[in-house]
Amino acid sequence: MTSYTKSLRCKECGEEYPLEPRTVCDHDFGPVEVTYDYAAMQGKVTRASIEAGPRSLWRYRDLLPIAAEPQAGFNSGWTPLIKADRLAKKLGVRELYIKDDSASYPSYSYKDRVVSVALTKAIEFGFNTVGCASTGNLAHSVAAHAATAGLEAFVLVPHDIEDGKIVGARVFGPNLIKIQGNYDDVNRLCSQIADKYGWAIVNVNLRPYYTEGAKTHGYEIAEQLGWQLPRHTVVPVAGGTILPKVWKAYQEFITLGLVDDNKPAMYGAQAAGCNPITKAIEDGEELFRPQKPDTIAKSIAIGNPADGYYVMKVIRESGGWSASATDPQIIDAMKLLARTEGIFTEPAGGTTLACAITLIEAGRIPRDEPICVCITGNGLKCVEALDNQFDEAPVIPAKIKDFAAVVESIQNKTPQPVTA
């Protein structure tokens, strides 16, 4: 195959490096990013060439930083883009889409995208051991893909994440280590581990490749919308990987002439208990101030987002904005999405929808233009979030008269508040 990749380049100073395992620029600790030869792609990477590819994220392989054949994630990506008419009606907007990575294969979050690329690179570089710092979803995904690829895995998580994510990861047999601290503590340790042990830590020394996988979320939105971009895209912000990469995906498609440039605007979504980016955007600050997270949305509880600076840059350049959601708003939005569109997302997804609602109601997102809400994780992995949200279900004998009594009592109740 042709590889269009050129180099790693520091986003701060422009220093170039070969395509190697690398965490940061040697000169200023700036992040390094894969560069591509877009001129060489012209006329070769087309709608037709992409449509002829597999129904997975690897249909975009020409735009991903792999040197040879994919080695992981053969069935990852290509998740549904849902035209959410019932939810749109409820919110009073004309055209609303949900990009639903709660259905991602095999680990039910968007992390399958980044891990597919990172593990392919790990194998290309000859690593036998992979690892990650994770709030849960990444641990789950790394463990699953490492098992498939036959790699040893060390996954590190904060000690207090949801059982569903712990079990979801452990079933694949990784070395799972709980760290006494929050995600930012885990992350710091993983930076040191990558230094000391020479393993492939997907979101440390393979991060330049890993993050590129997030672009596929954006490519799919554009292709599934019939080769056009939503005018407004709302994306959760944790470490800050996905928002700038969805933006990059849109810009690459514009550069290649695959979609028209409709000036897509990007919006960040954070939990009120962990909103360093939203706060900086709202306050007009150039830099964000790290926070100590305290929110039900544990998968996005990252107080010191690695790519926070670039999230802010993209939001501002694209003419977007950022919002926060309280824990009760997050839970309400989870229920609303479930009860209008049949999607059970995790609190991070509730956060994203709740923030979209806030942005619509505040007039930041107009009601008459196409909106896409990016759902990145699955609610079944963290059912604890809905503890005490429902009445006890009735328990009755298997007799029709007892069932009739239940139906009568239900019909006498006021309808559930969340219906479209």
Partner: protein, 92 residues
Amino acid sequence: MPAIEVEIPTALRPQVGDQESVTVEGATVGELLGKINDQYPDFGGKLFKAKDELNRFVNIYVNDEDIRFLDNLNTAVKEGDDVAIVPAIAGG
């Protein structure tokens, strides 16, 4: 003046003679970094954007606490404290 061991990340080790840590005396984080820079003149270039302003992607921890939550470069240090320089770009 307490002598304190400052942990150096891989990316900065060439600037300090390939050591994993450097022990210097100082009462604040800023003083420690200044002392290291006195010994290894190439050290500060990657760390500071301007005088007294750390590069955007540099995190410094004192006893596992990010100095942004403390008193930045004026954060006081004492004998036995763990001081570590860790690049910010990771995770997500």
